[in-house]
Symmetry: C2
Subunit: 384 residues, 2 copies
Amino acid sequence: MLNFTYHNPVKIIFGGHTLRELRKLIPQNKKILLTYGGGSIKKNGVYDKITKILKNYQVIEFGGIESNPQYETLMKAVALAKKEAVDFLLPVGGGSVLDGTKFIAAATKFKGEDPWDIIAKKAPVEEAIPLGAVITLPATGSEMNGYAVISRASTEEKLAFGSPLCYPQFSILDPESTFSLPERQVSNGIVDSFVHVMEQYMTVREGAPLQDRQAEAILMTLIEEAGKVKINPDDYTVRANLMWCACQALNGLIGCGVPQDWATHMIGHELTALYGLDHGQTLAVVLPAVLKHQKENKLDKLCHYAEKVWGVQKGTDREKADIAIEKTKDFFEVLGMKTSLSAYGISSEKFETIASRFDERNMFLGEKQNIGRKEVMEILKLCL
Amino acid sequence: MLNFTYHNPVKIIFGGHTLRELRKLIPQNKKILLTYGGGSIKKNGVYDKITKILKNYQVIEFGGIESNPQYETLMKAVALAKKEAVDFLLPVGGGSVLDGTKFIAAATKFKGEDPWDIIAKKAPVEEAIPLGAVITLPATGSEMNGYAVISRASTEEKLAFGSPLCYPQFSILDPESTFSLPERQVSNGIVDSFVHVMEQYMTVREGAPLQDRQAEAILMTLIEEAGKVKINPDDYTVRANLMWCACQALNGLIGCGVPQDWATHMIGHELTALYGLDHGQTLAVVLPAVLKHQKENKLDKLCHYAEKVWGVQKGTDREKADIAIEKTKDFFEVLGMKTSLSAYGISSEKFETIASRFDERNMFLGEKQNIGRKEVMEILKLCL
C-alpha cells in the first residue's frame, strides 16, 4: 500500500425531506448566492422548497450555469458575488453547478490578475467563499470533494482544479429530487460514477485488497441498481443507492494508498471541449479504448475485475480481460450510451489537436505515466 | 436506506515514516500533553522518535493509561492538564490511550461538578482540548471517530461517550509501529475490528447494498490478512491492511443509513467490567451467542453473510446461518481466542448483576431493541 493522507471534512446529509436542514447549516446572518443551472430545479420543485426554507435569509440568485460550466458565465457570477458582497454560496443542481460554484468561490477571492490562472496555471487558492451544496443529480461526486472541472469556450479547453478550501461545508442529498431526471442524465451519471471508480481501481495491484473490494462494491452496486432504475424510476431505494454510489465513487476513499489512472477522464475532457459531447458520453467511449490499449499493463487487474465484478471464471487471463472489457462496453450500451465516436458521427479530424495538447502540457497519462502523444493517438483511433 | 448524516473531519496520515508530519500538524506554540499506556512505545522506539521530532515543543507527559482506561487514572491526567495549562493532547498508543485522552480532553474543560457525568449522565461536551493521535495498535477505530469507552474500577462500570469535539484533528497510522505487538493484542484487534463491522452489518436488510458490500469488504480482508500476519508478522503490507481495516470498521461509513445492533459490545463491556476479560476476548465469546440467540431475527442477513463472506452455497437458510456462526467461531478460535466463558473458568455467578444493569438503565439492546433483561440472561447462558 502506498502512503497517503485522507481528509474529507464534508458533512453529508442524506435522505428524504432533508432540505429543511439548510436553516441549521447556514448561519442566519449570511448573505447567500444561490446558484443553479438551466432551470430543472424550478420544474422539480426544489427551487420553491429552498426559497421557502430560506425566506428569512438574504438570498441573491445566479442561474444559467451550463453543463460543463463555462468560465465566461462563471465570471459574471463572480462580478455579482463581489458587487453584492455575498458570504455564502449555495449551489443547487448537479456536478456542473457545484463545480462552477467552487470556481466562483475561489475566483471571487482571488488576489492575482487573472482568475483563469487558478485553472490553467494552478495558481494557489488562498481564500474562498464558504459553500454548501444541494445535489439533485448523482454523478460527479463533487458533493464530497474539493475538485472542479471548468470549461472555456473561447479556447476550447476543459480543465480541472482543486483546493481544500473548495470542499462544500455540507452537501444535502435527497434521492427524491432525482426522480424527475431525464433518462440521458441518469445514464450519464451512472457511467460517470462507474468510470470514477475504474480510474482508481483499474491500475496495477498495490497490495490494497480492502480498497479493491471497496471499489468493486461500488461497481457491483452501480451495475445492479442501473438495471432497476429503468424499470422503476420512482423507487426511492434504487435512487438512494445510485446517489450514495456516486458520492462514494469520488470522495477519495477508494483512492487511498493505490495508484490512479485518469487517462480516460483526461482524454474525455478533450472530446467534450472539442466535439461538445456530454462528459458521460465521452467516458463510455474512451474507457473501453483505454482498457484495450493498456491490456498488457493492466492484465492482472483486468483479470481480477473480470472475476470479481463480472463473475468470469473460465478462460486464460487475456480471455478474461477481453470479456471484462466487452462486458463493460455492453453495460454502457444497455444504459443507452454509445461506445464509439463514429456512432456520434465523429471522425478523426481533431485527434491531432487533442494529442498535441498533452504534448504541449508535457503531460503523460495513466498510472505508469506511459501514455503520451503517440499513445493518445492510438487510443483515439480505438475510439472510432 | 435510512436517512443519515455523515461527517468525519479526521485527517488520516497513513504509512511508513509519517511521524515526522507531527511538526506540520501541531502548531509550534502549543503546549502538548503526550499521553501513553504501559510503556510499549518506549520499547518499540516510537517514544524516542516522537520526543526527537517534538524537541522544539513544550511537552508534558502522562503515562500509565490502562487497557480499559480507568476514570481514576484519567482524572490525574486532568489535574495535570489543568495545572500545566496544556492546549494540545497527543495520545500515542492503542485505542485505550486514545479513548482515555478523549475523556481527558472533555473532562479538563468540563464546567459541571462531576466529569463522570459526561459518561454516566451523557452531560453535553461543550468544550474540549484539541487532540491528534499516533496509533500503534489497529483495533478500536478510535483514531477516526469521536467515541471513547471509559472504565471505573470503584463501580465496576465500563461505559461509552462521544462528542464531535472528541474527533482527533489528525491520526498518524504507521504500520511499522505495529510489528512488535504481542500476538494476543493482534488477535484482540482483529476480533474487535471484525465485530465492529458485524454490529453495523449483521442486522436486518435495509436496501443498502453498497453499505453491505463495504462491510463485507472489511470482513473478507480481515479474514484474509489474519491468516497472513501469523506467518509473516513483519510483512508491511499485511500490517497496513489490518490497520486500514480497523480504521474503516468504525469510522461511521459502513453504518450510514442502516440499522445497528451493538448488543455484543454492550454485553461484552459488562464482562470486562465484572470479570476483567480483554475487550476482544469478550467479543469473541459474545458475538456467536448473540447470533445464535437472534438467528430468526437476523436469518436473512445471516444467510447473506454465509454466502458472501464464507462462500456457503448449499443448504437451507437456517443451515447456512448455522454454518456462518460456526465459521465465525472457528475464525476466532484459529486466532487463538477462546469462544466460551467456561474456557476462561468463568461461571454464571455475576450474570444476574449484568442483566439487571440493563434493566436499571432501562436499556434494550439490538437493532430491534428486543433484547432486555431476560434475553441478556439467555445470551449469557449461551456464552458459557
